[in-house]
Symmetry: C2
Subunit: 239 residues, 2 copies
Protein backbone atom coordinates (compact mmCIF):
# COMPACT_ATOMS: atom_id res chain seq x y z
CA UNK A 1 0.00 0.00 0.00
CA UNK A 2 2.99 2.26 0.30
CA UNK A 3 4.87 2.90 -2.90
CA UNK A 4 7.65 4.87 -1.24
CA UNK A 5 10.03 1.89 -1.16
CA UNK A 6 9.83 1.55 -4.88
CA UNK A 7 11.29 5.01 -4.96
CA UNK A 8 12.18 7.21 -7.84
CA UNK A 9 12.14 4.58 -10.52
CA UNK A 10 8.38 4.02 -10.39
CA UNK A 11 7.74 7.69 -9.81
CA UNK A 12 9.61 8.77 -12.92
CA UNK A 13 7.90 6.10 -15.00
CA UNK A 14 4.61 7.50 -13.79
CA UNK A 15 5.73 11.01 -14.75
CA UNK A 16 6.74 9.91 -18.24
CA UNK A 17 3.46 8.11 -18.79
CA UNK A 18 1.39 10.94 -17.34
CA UNK A 19 3.17 13.37 -19.64
CA UNK A 20 2.22 11.16 -22.56
CA UNK A 21 -1.41 11.19 -21.46
CA UNK A 22 -1.38 14.95 -20.97
CA UNK A 23 0.05 15.42 -24.46
CA UNK A 24 -2.79 13.31 -25.84
CA UNK A 25 -5.30 15.49 -23.98
CA UNK A 26 -3.71 18.58 -25.53
CA UNK A 27 -3.92 16.98 -28.99
CA UNK A 28 -7.56 16.16 -28.33
CA UNK A 29 -8.14 19.74 -27.13
CA UNK A 30 -6.48 21.08 -30.28
CA UNK A 31 -8.75 18.93 -32.41
CA UNK A 32 -11.88 20.06 -30.53
CA UNK A 33 -10.79 23.70 -30.89
CA UNK A 34 -10.25 23.23 -34.62
CA UNK A 35 -13.68 21.63 -34.96
CA UNK A 36 -15.36 24.58 -33.25
CA UNK A 37 -13.40 27.10 -35.33
CA UNK A 38 -14.39 25.22 -38.50
CA UNK A 39 -18.06 25.06 -37.46
CA UNK A 40 -18.11 28.83 -36.91
CA UNK A 41 -16.36 29.45 -40.23
CA UNK A 42 -18.78 27.10 -42.00
CA UNK A 43 -21.68 29.23 -40.69
CA UNK A 44 -19.98 32.49 -41.65
CA UNK A 45 -19.18 31.36 -45.17
CA UNK A 46 -22.24 29.09 -45.68
CA UNK A 47 -19.72 26.37 -46.44
CA UNK A 48 -21.69 23.09 -46.54
CA UNK A 49 -18.61 21.05 -47.35
CA UNK A 50 -16.75 22.33 -44.29
CA UNK A 51 -19.83 21.61 -42.16
CA UNK A 52 -19.83 18.02 -43.43
CA UNK A 53 -16.15 17.74 -42.54
CA UNK A 54 -16.90 18.86 -38.98
CA UNK A 55 -19.66 16.27 -38.73
CA UNK A 56 -17.46 13.41 -39.89
CA UNK A 57 -14.37 14.49 -37.90
CA UNK A 58 -16.24 14.05 -34.63
CA UNK A 59 -15.21 10.38 -34.78
CA UNK A 60 -11.60 11.41 -34.20
CA UNK A 61 -12.60 13.12 -30.96
CA UNK A 62 -14.55 10.08 -29.81
CA UNK A 63 -11.53 7.89 -30.55
CA UNK A 64 -9.31 10.25 -28.52
CA UNK A 65 -11.70 9.95 -25.59
CA UNK A 66 -11.66 6.14 -25.59
CA UNK A 67 -7.86 5.98 -25.96
CA UNK A 68 -7.10 8.48 -23.22
CA UNK A 69 -9.70 6.99 -20.93
CA UNK A 70 -8.06 3.62 -21.35
CA UNK A 71 -4.58 5.08 -20.84
CA UNK A 72 -5.71 6.70 -17.57
CA UNK A 73 -7.18 3.42 -16.32
CA UNK A 74 -3.93 1.60 -17.18
CA UNK A 75 -1.92 4.31 -15.48
CA UNK A 76 -3.86 3.90 -12.23
CA UNK A 77 -3.74 0.09 -12.40
CA UNK A 78 -0.01 -0.10 -13.17
CA UNK A 79 1.42 2.84 -11.22
CA UNK A 80 -1.12 3.10 -8.39
CA UNK A 81 -0.68 6.84 -7.92
CA UNK A 82 -1.78 8.55 -4.72
CA UNK A 83 -2.26 12.17 -3.60
CA UNK A 84 -1.50 14.77 -6.26
CA UNK A 85 -0.50 12.16 -8.86
CA UNK A 86 -3.89 10.50 -8.54
CA UNK A 87 -5.58 13.89 -8.62
CA UNK A 88 -3.98 14.61 -11.98
CA UNK A 89 -5.22 11.38 -13.49
CA UNK A 90 -8.75 11.97 -12.19
CA UNK A 91 -8.77 15.55 -13.49
CA UNK A 92 -7.73 14.13 -16.86
CA UNK A 93 -10.60 11.62 -16.88
CA UNK A 94 -13.05 14.43 -16.30
CA UNK A 95 -11.47 16.86 -18.75
CA UNK A 96 -11.71 14.48 -21.67
CA UNK A 97 -15.37 13.72 -20.88
CA UNK A 98 -16.11 17.46 -21.17
CA UNK A 99 -13.99 17.80 -24.33
CA UNK A 100 -15.90 14.95 -25.95
CA UNK A 101 -19.18 16.65 -25.16
CA UNK A 102 -17.92 19.96 -26.51
CA UNK A 103 -17.34 17.95 -29.70
CA UNK A 104 -20.97 16.81 -29.67
CA UNK A 105 -22.26 20.37 -29.22
CA UNK A 106 -19.99 21.49 -32.07
CA UNK A 107 -21.63 18.95 -34.36
CA UNK A 108 -25.02 20.49 -33.56
CA UNK A 109 -23.63 23.95 -34.39
CA UNK A 110 -22.20 22.76 -37.71
CA UNK A 111 -25.67 21.49 -38.64
CA UNK A 112 -26.86 25.11 -38.94
CA UNK A 113 -24.25 25.81 -41.63
CA UNK A 114 -26.03 23.30 -43.84
CA UNK A 115 -29.23 25.34 -43.92
CA UNK A 116 -29.98 28.17 -46.34
CA UNK A 117 -30.86 31.57 -44.88
CA UNK A 118 -32.40 34.59 -46.58
CA UNK A 119 -30.35 37.76 -46.87
CA UNK A 120 -32.41 39.39 -44.14
CA UNK A 121 -31.71 36.47 -41.80
CA UNK A 122 -27.95 36.89 -42.24
CA UNK A 123 -27.69 39.26 -39.27
CA UNK A 124 -28.87 36.43 -37.02
CA UNK A 125 -26.01 34.30 -38.27
CA UNK A 126 -23.64 37.20 -37.61
CA UNK A 127 -24.81 37.23 -33.97
CA UNK A 128 -24.28 33.48 -33.79
CA UNK A 129 -20.80 33.91 -35.17
CA UNK A 130 -19.98 36.61 -32.58
CA UNK A 131 -21.13 34.37 -29.75
CA UNK A 132 -19.14 31.55 -31.34
CA UNK A 133 -15.95 33.62 -31.35
CA UNK A 134 -16.37 34.44 -27.65
CA UNK A 135 -16.84 30.78 -26.80
CA UNK A 136 -13.94 29.73 -29.03
CA UNK A 137 -11.75 32.20 -27.18
CA UNK A 138 -12.89 30.75 -23.84
CA UNK A 139 -12.08 27.24 -25.06
CA UNK A 140 -8.60 28.34 -26.15
CA UNK A 141 -7.97 29.98 -22.79
CA UNK A 142 -9.03 26.95 -20.79
CA UNK A 143 -6.88 24.65 -22.92
CA UNK A 144 -3.93 26.97 -22.24
CA UNK A 145 -4.73 26.91 -18.54
CA UNK A 146 -4.82 23.10 -18.71
CA UNK A 147 -1.56 22.91 -20.68
CA UNK A 148 0.28 25.09 -18.15
CA UNK A 149 -1.77 23.96 -15.12
CA UNK A 150 -2.35 27.63 -14.44
CA UNK A 151 -5.06 28.02 -11.79
CA UNK A 152 -5.20 31.81 -12.13
CA UNK A 153 -5.92 31.61 -15.82
CA UNK A 154 -8.49 28.89 -15.07
CA UNK A 155 -10.22 31.22 -12.61
CA UNK A 156 -10.26 33.97 -15.25
CA UNK A 157 -11.86 31.60 -17.76
CA UNK A 158 -14.40 30.54 -15.16
CA UNK A 159 -15.48 34.11 -14.58
CA UNK A 160 -15.62 34.97 -18.29
CA UNK A 161 -18.60 32.63 -18.64
CA UNK A 162 -20.83 35.36 -17.24
CA UNK A 163 -20.19 37.45 -20.36
CA UNK A 164 -21.13 34.53 -22.57
CA UNK A 165 -24.35 33.94 -20.64
CA UNK A 166 -25.30 37.60 -21.08
CA UNK A 167 -24.58 37.52 -24.80
CA UNK A 168 -26.57 34.30 -25.13
CA UNK A 169 -29.59 35.79 -23.33
CA UNK A 170 -29.46 38.86 -25.58
CA UNK A 171 -29.27 36.68 -28.65
CA UNK A 172 -32.21 34.58 -27.48
CA UNK A 173 -34.33 37.73 -27.13
CA UNK A 174 -33.28 38.83 -30.61
CA UNK A 175 -34.22 35.44 -32.07
CA UNK A 176 -37.60 35.39 -30.31
CA UNK A 177 -38.40 38.88 -31.60
CA UNK A 178 -37.53 37.78 -35.10
CA UNK A 179 -39.77 34.71 -34.82
CA UNK A 180 -42.65 36.84 -33.55
CA UNK A 181 -42.28 39.15 -36.56
CA UNK A 182 -41.99 36.34 -39.07
CA UNK A 183 -43.68 33.21 -37.69
CA UNK A 184 -43.07 31.23 -40.89
CA UNK A 185 -39.36 31.39 -40.13
CA UNK A 186 -39.81 29.59 -36.77
CA UNK A 187 -38.56 26.10 -37.74
CA UNK A 188 -35.41 27.50 -39.31
CA UNK A 189 -34.73 30.00 -36.55
CA UNK A 190 -35.18 27.28 -33.94
CA UNK A 191 -32.05 25.64 -35.33
CA UNK A 192 -30.20 28.91 -34.69
CA UNK A 193 -31.65 28.97 -31.15
CA UNK A 194 -30.36 25.45 -30.48
CA UNK A 195 -26.94 26.35 -31.88
CA UNK A 196 -26.75 29.39 -29.63
CA UNK A 197 -27.69 27.16 -26.72
CA UNK A 198 -24.99 24.67 -27.69
CA UNK A 199 -22.47 27.51 -27.60
CA UNK A 200 -23.69 28.50 -24.15
CA UNK A 201 -23.30 24.89 -23.04
CA UNK A 202 -19.75 24.77 -24.37
CA UNK A 203 -19.07 27.76 -22.11
CA UNK A 204 -20.37 25.72 -19.15
CA UNK A 205 -18.10 22.83 -20.08
CA UNK A 206 -15.10 25.16 -20.28
CA UNK A 207 -16.01 26.20 -16.75
CA UNK A 208 -15.95 22.56 -15.70
CA UNK A 209 -12.45 22.12 -17.16
CA UNK A 210 -11.34 25.30 -15.36
CA UNK A 211 -12.59 23.74 -12.09
CA UNK A 212 -10.54 20.57 -12.72
CA UNK A 213 -7.40 22.68 -13.30
CA UNK A 214 -7.97 24.45 -9.97
CA UNK A 215 -8.60 21.08 -8.28
CA UNK A 216 -5.43 19.71 -9.79
CA UNK A 217 -3.26 22.66 -8.75
CA UNK A 218 -4.73 23.38 -5.31
CA UNK A 219 -6.17 20.00 -4.33
CA UNK A 220 -9.54 21.55 -3.55
CA UNK A 221 -12.74 20.63 -5.31
CA UNK A 222 -14.31 24.01 -6.17
CA UNK A 223 -17.39 22.69 -7.95
CA UNK A 224 -20.64 24.05 -6.56
CA UNK A 225 -18.80 26.65 -4.47
CA UNK A 226 -19.19 30.43 -4.48
CA UNK A 227 -17.07 32.79 -6.55
CA UNK A 228 -15.44 33.98 -3.31
CA UNK A 229 -14.43 30.46 -2.26
CA UNK A 230 -12.97 29.90 -5.68
CA UNK A 231 -11.02 33.16 -5.54
CA UNK A 232 -9.77 32.37 -2.03
CA UNK A 233 -8.63 28.97 -3.23
CA UNK A 234 -6.65 30.37 -6.11
CA UNK A 235 -5.59 33.46 -4.07
CA UNK A 236 -5.32 35.52 -7.15
CA UNK A 237 -3.44 38.76 -6.43
CA UNK A 238 -5.80 41.66 -7.06
CA UNK A 239 -4.73 44.18 -9.68
Amino acid sequence: MDNSKMGKHISSQFDVELKGVRNSVLSMGGEVEKQLADAIRAIKESDHELADKVLSNDRKINAFELDIDNACTQLIAKRQPTASDLRQVIATFKTIADLERIGDETKRIAGVAKETFSSEQQHLLASLENLGQLVLNMLRMVLNAFARMDAEEALEVHQSDQGIDRQYEAMLRQLMTYMMEDPRSIPKIMDVVFSARSLERIGDRCQNIAEYVIYNVHGKDVRHTSVETMQDTVRKPRA
Copy 2:
Protein backbone atom coordinates in the same frame (compact mmCIF):
# COMPACT_ATOMS: atom_id res chain seq x y z
CA MET B 1 2.58 -3.13 -7.38
CA ASP B 2 1.02 -6.53 -6.77
CA ASN B 3 -1.62 -6.54 -4.08
CA SER B 4 -2.06 -10.32 -4.14
CA LYS B 5 0.27 -10.88 -1.17
CA MET B 6 -1.88 -8.73 1.02
CA GLY B 7 -4.57 -11.28 0.35
CA LYS B 8 -8.13 -11.44 1.40
CA HIS B 9 -7.95 -8.89 4.17
CA ILE B 10 -7.36 -5.92 1.89
CA SER B 11 -9.69 -7.27 -0.73
CA SER B 12 -12.60 -7.57 1.67
CA GLN B 13 -11.93 -4.08 3.05
CA PHE B 14 -12.14 -2.84 -0.52
CA ASP B 15 -15.41 -4.72 -1.02
CA VAL B 16 -16.92 -3.24 2.14
CA GLU B 17 -15.89 0.28 1.18
CA LEU B 18 -17.03 -0.12 -2.41
CA LYS B 19 -20.38 -1.38 -1.16
CA GLY B 20 -20.67 1.78 0.93
CA VAL B 21 -19.91 3.93 -2.10
CA ARG B 22 -22.40 2.04 -4.23
CA ASN B 23 -25.08 2.51 -1.60
CA SER B 24 -24.39 6.24 -1.65
CA VAL B 25 -24.75 6.25 -5.44
CA LEU B 26 -28.11 4.51 -5.07
CA SER B 27 -29.20 7.09 -2.49
CA MET B 28 -28.10 9.85 -4.86
CA GLY B 29 -29.97 8.15 -7.70
CA GLY B 30 -33.08 7.91 -5.53
CA GLU B 31 -32.85 11.60 -4.76
CA VAL B 32 -32.43 12.50 -8.46
CA GLU B 33 -35.39 10.30 -9.35
CA LYS B 34 -37.53 11.98 -6.69
CA GLN B 35 -36.51 15.41 -7.97
CA LEU B 36 -37.55 14.54 -11.51
CA ALA B 37 -40.84 13.03 -10.33
CA ASP B 38 -41.52 16.18 -8.27
CA ALA B 39 -40.66 18.48 -11.20
CA ILE B 40 -43.12 16.61 -13.44
CA ARG B 41 -45.80 16.70 -10.76
CA ALA B 42 -45.19 20.41 -10.19
CA ILE B 43 -45.87 21.01 -13.89
CA LYS B 44 -48.98 18.80 -13.88
CA GLU B 45 -50.48 20.46 -10.82
CA SER B 46 -49.07 23.99 -11.42
CA ASP B 47 -47.57 23.67 -7.96
CA HIS B 48 -45.15 26.59 -7.56
CA GLU B 49 -44.18 25.57 -4.04
CA LEU B 50 -43.15 22.09 -5.15
CA ALA B 51 -41.18 23.65 -8.01
CA ASP B 52 -39.32 25.82 -5.49
CA LYS B 53 -38.57 22.73 -3.43
CA VAL B 54 -37.05 21.03 -6.47
CA LEU B 55 -34.90 24.09 -7.14
CA SER B 56 -33.55 24.26 -3.59
CA ASN B 57 -33.10 20.47 -3.20
CA ASP B 58 -30.57 20.41 -6.03
CA ARG B 59 -27.95 21.28 -3.42
CA LYS B 60 -28.39 17.85 -1.87
CA ILE B 61 -27.51 16.24 -5.18
CA ASN B 62 -24.44 18.43 -5.61
CA ALA B 63 -23.33 17.47 -2.09
CA PHE B 64 -23.79 13.79 -2.92
CA GLU B 65 -21.60 14.24 -5.99
CA LEU B 66 -18.74 15.84 -4.06
CA ASP B 67 -18.91 13.26 -1.26
CA ILE B 68 -18.99 10.23 -3.52
CA ASP B 69 -16.31 11.69 -5.78
CA ASN B 70 -14.09 12.12 -2.74
CA ALA B 71 -14.88 8.63 -1.46
CA CYS B 72 -13.92 7.13 -4.85
CA THR B 73 -10.62 9.02 -4.85
CA GLN B 74 -9.86 7.81 -1.32
CA LEU B 75 -10.78 4.28 -2.30
CA ILE B 76 -8.30 4.29 -5.18
CA ALA B 77 -5.56 5.92 -3.10
CA LYS B 78 -5.96 3.61 -0.10
CA ARG B 79 -6.90 0.30 -1.71
CA GLN B 80 -5.19 0.64 -5.09
CA PRO B 81 -7.68 -1.53 -6.94
CA THR B 82 -6.83 -3.07 -10.31
CA ALA B 83 -8.78 -4.84 -13.07
CA SER B 84 -12.50 -5.21 -12.40
CA ASP B 85 -12.30 -3.51 -8.98
CA LEU B 86 -10.81 -0.40 -10.58
CA ARG B 87 -13.37 -0.57 -13.34
CA GLN B 88 -16.15 -0.40 -10.79
CA VAL B 89 -14.72 2.70 -9.15
CA ILE B 90 -14.27 4.43 -12.50
CA ALA B 91 -17.80 3.54 -13.59
CA THR B 92 -18.99 5.07 -10.31
CA PHE B 93 -17.09 8.33 -10.95
CA LYS B 94 -18.78 8.65 -14.30
CA THR B 95 -22.23 7.64 -13.12
CA ILE B 96 -22.39 10.33 -10.45
CA ALA B 97 -21.26 13.00 -12.93
CA ASP B 98 -24.22 12.10 -15.13
CA LEU B 99 -26.60 11.94 -12.15
CA GLU B 100 -25.52 15.42 -11.09
CA ARG B 101 -26.23 16.77 -14.55
CA ILE B 102 -29.61 15.05 -14.63
CA GLY B 103 -30.24 17.08 -11.47
CA ASP B 104 -29.29 20.29 -13.32
CA GLU B 105 -31.64 19.50 -16.20
CA THR B 106 -34.40 18.74 -13.68
CA LYS B 107 -34.00 22.22 -12.23
CA ARG B 108 -34.58 23.69 -15.68
CA ILE B 109 -37.73 21.58 -16.03
CA ALA B 110 -39.05 22.68 -12.63
CA GLY B 111 -38.67 26.30 -13.77
CA VAL B 112 -41.57 25.81 -16.21
CA ALA B 113 -43.91 24.89 -13.34
CA LYS B 114 -43.46 28.42 -12.03
CA GLU B 115 -45.02 29.99 -15.12
CA THR B 116 -48.72 30.51 -15.69
CA PHE B 117 -50.27 28.99 -18.79
CA SER B 118 -53.65 29.69 -20.37
CA SER B 119 -56.25 26.93 -20.45
CA GLU B 120 -55.62 26.41 -24.15
CA GLN B 121 -51.90 25.98 -23.52
CA GLN B 122 -52.56 23.19 -21.02
CA HIS B 123 -52.40 20.49 -23.70
CA LEU B 124 -48.75 21.45 -24.30
CA LEU B 125 -48.02 20.85 -20.64
CA ALA B 126 -49.79 17.49 -20.89
CA SER B 127 -47.40 16.53 -23.72
CA LEU B 128 -44.47 17.66 -21.60
CA GLU B 129 -45.75 15.55 -18.73
CA ASN B 130 -46.07 12.48 -20.99
CA LEU B 131 -42.50 12.89 -22.19
CA GLY B 132 -41.46 13.39 -18.57
CA GLN B 133 -43.07 10.12 -17.50
CA LEU B 134 -41.23 8.22 -20.24
CA VAL B 135 -37.92 9.73 -19.19
CA LEU B 136 -38.64 9.13 -15.50
CA ASN B 137 -39.31 5.50 -16.33
CA MET B 138 -36.00 5.29 -18.20
CA LEU B 139 -34.18 6.80 -15.22
CA ARG B 140 -35.78 4.26 -12.86
CA MET B 141 -34.78 1.40 -15.15
CA VAL B 142 -31.18 2.50 -15.44
CA LEU B 143 -30.90 2.95 -11.68
CA ASN B 144 -32.23 -0.60 -11.27
CA ALA B 145 -29.72 -1.83 -13.82
CA PHE B 146 -26.96 -0.05 -11.87
CA ALA B 147 -28.18 -1.43 -8.52
CA ARG B 148 -28.15 -4.99 -9.80
CA MET B 149 -25.29 -4.49 -12.27
CA ASP B 150 -27.58 -5.99 -14.89
CA ALA B 151 -26.07 -5.47 -18.34
CA GLU B 152 -29.12 -6.82 -20.15
CA GLU B 153 -31.43 -4.35 -18.48
CA ALA B 154 -28.86 -1.63 -19.23
CA LEU B 155 -28.95 -2.57 -22.91
CA GLU B 156 -32.74 -2.40 -22.86
CA VAL B 157 -32.62 1.09 -21.32
CA HIS B 158 -30.08 2.15 -23.92
CA GLN B 159 -32.34 1.11 -26.75
CA SER B 160 -35.44 2.73 -25.22
CA ASP B 161 -33.88 6.16 -25.81
CA GLN B 162 -34.97 5.95 -29.45
CA GLY B 163 -38.61 6.14 -28.34
CA ILE B 164 -37.87 9.21 -26.26
CA ASP B 165 -36.11 10.90 -29.17
CA ARG B 166 -39.12 10.26 -31.39
CA GLN B 167 -41.54 11.62 -28.81
CA TYR B 168 -39.32 14.68 -28.31
CA GLU B 169 -39.21 15.40 -32.06
CA ALA B 170 -43.01 15.11 -32.26
CA MET B 171 -43.41 17.45 -29.33
CA LEU B 172 -41.02 19.97 -30.88
CA ARG B 173 -43.11 20.02 -34.06
CA GLN B 174 -46.26 20.50 -31.99
CA LEU B 175 -44.68 23.42 -30.10
CA MET B 176 -43.43 25.09 -33.28
CA THR B 177 -46.89 24.82 -34.85
CA TYR B 178 -48.39 26.41 -31.77
CA MET B 179 -45.88 29.28 -31.88
CA MET B 180 -46.60 29.86 -35.57
CA GLU B 181 -50.32 30.10 -34.81
CA ASP B 182 -49.89 32.37 -31.80
CA PRO B 183 -46.60 34.30 -32.10
CA ARG B 184 -47.25 36.28 -28.92
CA SER B 185 -46.89 33.07 -26.97
CA ILE B 186 -43.34 32.47 -28.23
CA PRO B 187 -41.37 33.55 -25.11
CA LYS B 188 -43.49 31.35 -22.84
CA ILE B 189 -43.55 28.38 -25.20
CA MET B 190 -39.77 28.59 -25.59
CA ASP B 191 -39.51 27.63 -21.93
CA VAL B 192 -41.56 24.52 -22.69
CA VAL B 193 -39.25 23.82 -25.66
CA PHE B 194 -36.19 24.01 -23.42
CA SER B 195 -37.82 21.77 -20.83
CA ALA B 196 -38.61 19.19 -23.47
CA ARG B 197 -35.00 19.39 -24.60
CA SER B 198 -33.82 18.92 -21.01
CA LEU B 199 -35.92 15.76 -20.82
CA GLU B 200 -34.39 14.53 -24.05
CA ARG B 201 -30.93 15.21 -22.60
CA ILE B 202 -31.77 13.26 -19.45
CA GLY B 203 -32.53 10.33 -21.76
CA ASP B 204 -29.02 10.69 -23.24
CA ARG B 205 -27.51 10.70 -19.76
CA CYS B 206 -29.42 7.56 -18.84
CA GLN B 207 -27.87 6.00 -21.94
CA ASN B 208 -24.43 7.00 -20.63
CA ILE B 209 -25.10 5.31 -17.29
CA ALA B 210 -26.32 2.20 -19.15
CA GLU B 211 -22.97 2.17 -21.00
CA TYR B 212 -21.03 2.32 -17.70
CA VAL B 213 -23.04 -0.64 -16.37
CA ILE B 214 -22.15 -2.67 -19.48
CA TYR B 215 -18.50 -1.58 -19.14
CA ASN B 216 -18.52 -2.61 -15.51
CA VAL B 217 -20.07 -6.03 -16.14
CA HIS B 218 -18.29 -6.98 -19.37
CA GLY B 219 -15.10 -4.92 -19.18
CA LYS B 220 -15.72 -3.47 -22.63
CA ASP B 221 -16.16 0.22 -23.32
CA VAL B 222 -19.22 0.36 -25.58
CA ARG B 223 -19.38 4.14 -25.98
CA HIS B 224 -19.43 5.29 -29.60
CA THR B 225 -20.02 1.72 -30.83
CA SER B 226 -22.85 0.37 -32.97
CA VAL B 227 -26.03 -1.18 -31.60
CA GLU B 228 -24.80 -4.54 -32.92
CA THR B 229 -21.48 -4.32 -31.06
CA MET B 230 -23.33 -3.44 -27.91
CA GLN B 231 -25.71 -6.38 -28.33
CA ASP B 232 -22.80 -8.73 -29.06
CA THR B 233 -21.05 -7.50 -25.92
CA VAL B 234 -24.03 -8.13 -23.70
CA ARG B 235 -24.94 -11.30 -25.67
CA LYS B 236 -28.53 -10.91 -24.83
CA PRO B 237 -30.42 -14.13 -25.56
CA ARG B 238 -32.94 -13.39 -28.29
CA ALA B 239 -36.55 -14.08 -27.49
